[in-house]
Symmetry: C2
């Protein structure tokens, strides 16, 4: 059967192929099979600080989404929520109020316990990010102790993930959701720091095989 | 006119009167005039680490919400989203998909740039929180440099807030929303660290007068 690509109208997605946050949106778009124009922002050369991109997102981070009326959204959650309203199928935020809340809950836990910890570890230690310990327009020096704490917290998060997946097929229950996308991106981002799911984390490993095997994971 | 209190059924809200995160939910509940049972969790005495509370939220943080079926939600965003579905009026997440996304976007910006910065500054410097630099079941030592960075980032966030409020009545546009609740709680939390909106931040100060003057702000 031929899969129809959904028309994204004049949506324009501001991406950077090498960065983890926009990858969350890329996977979301792939799952929904949305066809929309994509613009690469060259973070390596500081294009996020250019005047043209500041007009898209004054906070100088990707991803961003330009809507049909020319207004712009930033922040992964906001962009995905908008795309969910406009392209409801397949549902990636659940369908009932309770399921939706559970998915949002797990998405927050993954972001705060997982993704933020990897980011702390990465941005406070990478050689190329001296004085770029946080994203955004202001420069902050790296804090080596925070990189260390980030690494510990990633390991703690991986244990938490494994516990949750002992009794759930996907992170927030029976359904693949945005929380799985966030967690997949977290695990792959952590790999850059040579942090990976331990061989004892059988539940998380089983889950990782499944979610990383979906075609969308190539995004 | 007598205001009717909405029936919260057997919802049970786990709160701590002195903590900023559950205050976000308290204000949300007050705006919607929901009548629900509230349980105080004594963070000062470590009740969040008790077995009974771990069964509510294994991450050992407040707030949490127990639903009619006995299942529990944690994380402010998830709890508020659930309450919004169940008690839609007044809308605190907007009404159209675009407005909702803009509110979610600003709520994320307030959390990441504002609230997380105040928390970094507070938890990494408060005497009573030695070895409690993060919330949750694992203990981490304070990082004084992170407290300093947090203070700088709070000031940067206050400037961002003022800029945004130069052209908007409320944080995400024309409508009071969860983003205003998050920002109000952030400003009041920062006050504990003697960080306040500068006298030059006229737009933010105008906004603060309005939102802190609403009856819900007493929650």
């Amino acid at each position: 059967m031929l899969q129809m690509r959904l028309r994204g109208g004049s949506l324009k997605f501001y991406d950077c192929k090498t960065a983890p946050s926009p990858r969350r949106v890329r996977i979301f778009i792939a799952e929904k099979n949305i066809d929309c124009e994509t613009v690469q922002v060259d973070l390596g050369n500081g294009e996020q600080f250019s005047d043209w991109y500041k007009a898209i997102n004054p906070d100088c981070v990707v991803p961003a989404l330009e809507l049909d009326d020319g207004s712009c959204l930033s922040e992964v959650l906001a962009i995905c929520d908008y795309l969910e309203s406009r392209f409801p199928e397949p549902a990636l935020f659940g369908v009932s109020p309770k399921e939706r809340a559970q998915i949002l809950m797990w998405n927050v836990k993954v972001e705060q316990q997982g993704l933020a910890s990897v980011a702390d570890a990465f941005r406070n230690s990478a050689r190329g990010l001296a004085n770029r310990a946080t994203t955004g327009p202001v420069s902050y020096a790296q804090i080596p102790e925070l990189a260390e704490r980030g690494r510990s917290r990633v390991e703690q998060f991986f244990r938490r993930l494994d516990e949750q997946l002992a009794n759930n097929e996907f992170i927030a229950g029976d359904r693949y959701s945005i929380a799985d996308i966030s967690a997949l991106v977290t695990v792959d981002f952590a790999n850059r720091l040579k942090l990976s799911l331990s061989s004892e984390a059988m539940n998380a490993k089983r889950w990782y095989e499944v979610v990383s095997g979906r075609p969308s994971a190539a995004a």
